[in-house]
């Protein structure tokens, strides 16, 4: 057992993601077992206590104080750790050092009086107040932060409605306004499909597939996941649809959300019925008949929504897509080839997702034929007792709270997923791994490169024991994303991953393989 060494800087503020990424780097230093580099928030102090890396001085810090605490052997010199932290912070600062960074929203508005959008990703307890200030200044808001109370959300959205402004969020992960990707968003070509989305990765999946099918988006408005709950009443989705109806650059509208509260669904669908523009409605896993009764185009998957929107823009026939891009014989060949390599004791699926909505979509597609355990199960009997331990067929949303305490979202920091993959490969009954790779702004600069060593390790470890690991992957991205779609897909294929062109197709292929081994 090593000893704890620490360093404190009072009144020095850095954002949480920057610090969590630095913690990850410090952990790689020689002799360091565990490292915490963070602000003195209650969460970080609790984490330090739980890891037995706290003391009375750390206990008394405020969220405005910065601390470093490391657990390690005798070789660890705290001065060297502090120097390394400074190095990493300076490297981060280098790009933006000469920029003027005003201390408050007021001074930022003075600096740029023509600003028209505020993106807020502050800790939840401070976020609503700043969003309110922004709306009162006549600015549109994208609120990325979560942990905002639903009463506050209602107040913010009612204020935005009275002023006719966008109030996207809280917990709004993605938006593309005037073709500018905000927060976690892909670089999607300009076009005539407008999207209003209450689910982050659901929206990303639809927009990237629209791009790949050769069309583009006019506006992508995020609402935050709770907008269609009874308490909020779909305020932002209704305002978003109205704006798209009045937008001359939008020809087709797509709505994406988990099934709304019935009263809210009715309100939204009434607007769909009166819309002069066609509306594709993907209430994921919801009742299709209701949507069609109101004249909306209902969908069976996120890919299906993208394809229908594209068909409508091109004035082509609108039909359900529940198959594969590849010919049936080719799909059968892939399935047979994989099944032949899987040994008799291997039978289960472990799906390791970074995107919550696409994890949910896969469970809905696979859940008809298989029992799938999860931390976000389709029904309560399939809830995993412990999210850290998989059971039979398991599908995980690694972006959920239990995996992200003190760590950035897995789309930014894939380190837990790399460990979990190796953990799954040790289970003798595991046959298939299904995983997503989300590209775009906001996401990790090289999600494929972060995962490749573990993919190799898992495959080699199993091969040594005479087993075969089948890995089905899906890359959610476009060729214009900074990480480049094609190159990302090719790197995975070179590592022996079967890369499918949509999440729905990846799930369907997985189903065909499981059918033959279970």
């Amino acid at each position: 057992m090593g000893s704890v060494k620490y360093s404190i800087k009072k009144n020095t503020y850095y954002d949480s993601v920057t610090l969590m990424i630095i913690s990850k780097e410090i952990k790689k230093m020689d002799g360091v077992e565990e490292a915490l580099v963070g602000m003195g928030t209650d969460l970080n102090k609790e984490l330090a206590t739980n890891l037995q890396m706290s003391n009375s001085e750390i206990d008394e810090l405020t969220p405005n104080d910065f601390f470093i605490s490391v657990l390690g052997d005798d070789k660890v010199n705290i001065e060297e750790v502090v120097a390394e932290v400074d190095n990493l912070l300076n490297a981060k600062k280098k790009d933006s050092d000469s920029d003027y960074m005003p201390p408050t929203l007021d001074s930022a508005v003075n600096n740029d009086p023509d600003a028209n959008m505020v993106v807020i990703s502050l800790p939840g307890q401070y976020a609503a107040e700043e969003a309110k200030k922004a709306l009162n200044k006549g600015l549109n808001v994208m609120l990325f932060s979560d942990n905002v109370k639903i009463e506050e959300e209602k107040e913010l959205k009612e204020l935005a409605k009275s002023k006719g402004l966008l109030m996207m969020g809280p917990d709004c992960g993605t938006a593309i306004i005037n073709n500018v990707p905000l927060a976690f968003a892909n670089v999607v070509r300009k076009g005539s499909i407008g999207v209003v989305g209450a689910s982050g990765t659901g929206t990303q999946e639809i927009t990237v597939l629209i791009d790949r099918l050769g069309e583009g988006v006019s506006q992508v408005i995020g609402t935050g996941g709770r907008d269609l709950k009874e308490e909020i009443g779909g305020i932002m989705m209704l305002m978003g649809i109205d704006a798209l109806i009045n937008d001359p650059n939008t020809e087709v509208i797509v709505l994406v959300s988990k099934p709304p509260a019935p009263s809210v669904a009715e309100k939204v669908l009434k607007v769909v019925k009166d819309s002069p523009k066609p509306v594709v409605v993907n209430f994921i896993g919801g009742d299709r008949e209701v949507v069609e009764k109101y004249g909306g185009y209902s969908c069976i998957s996120l890919e299906d929504a993208a394809r229908k929107a594209v068909a409508l823009v091109r004035k082509e026939e609108v039909k359900d897509f529940d198959g594969f891009s590849l010919a049936e014989e080719e799909i059968n060949r892939i399935v047979d080839q994989e099944v032949a390599k899987i040994t008799s004791g291997q039978k289960y699926l472990r799906a390791l997702y970074t995107g919550g909505t696409i994890a949910d979509e896969s469970m809905k597609l696979l859940g008809k034929d298989f029992d799938i355990y999860s931390n976000i199960p389709l029904s309560p009997e399939f809830k995993l007792e412990n999210s850290m331990v998989s059971k039979e067929n398991t599908c995980l949303d690694l972006g959920e709270d239990e995996f992200t305490k003190g760590k950035p979202h897995p789309m930014i920091d894939p380190s837990y997923r790399t460990e979990r993959l190796v953990q799954e490969a040790k289970d003798e009954e595991v046959a298939v791994i299904l995983m997503d790779f989300v590209l775009g702004y906001g996401a990790n600069e090289d999600p494929i490169g972060e995962m490749l060593p573990s993919l190799k390790e898992a495959k080699e470890m199993m091969a040594k024991e005479g087993r075969y690991l089948c890995i089905v992957g899906y890359v959610c991205g476009t060729e214009s994303d900074p990480q480049k779609l094609k190159e990302s897909q090719e790197r995975l294929e070179e590592a022996g991953v079967i890369v499918m062109p949509s999440n729905a197709q990846a799930a369907r292929l997985t189903g065909l393989i499981l059918n033959k081994i279970q």
Binding site: D95, M117, G442
Partner: protein
């Protein structure tokens, strides 16, 4: 025209509060963006912060 539709006709100009990576992403795309060097009001002391906000 609603303010949202007015926004659709303008160049987007962003103020970013929070994660600096979002600021850097926008800068890379040459989108006008101002990053706020935000700190918790009154060092995160909730009582003091709420008193201060009433003074404004």
């Amino acid at each position: 025209m609603s303010k949202i539709n007015e926004l659709f006709n303008k160049d987007l100009r962003v103020i970013n509060m929070g994660l600096e990576s979002f600021y850097n992403d926008l800068k890379k795309q040459e989108i006008p963006v101002t990053h706020v060097a935000w700190k918790p009001v009154a060092g995160g002391n909730k009582k003091l912060s709420s008193l201060l906000s009433r003074l404004k």
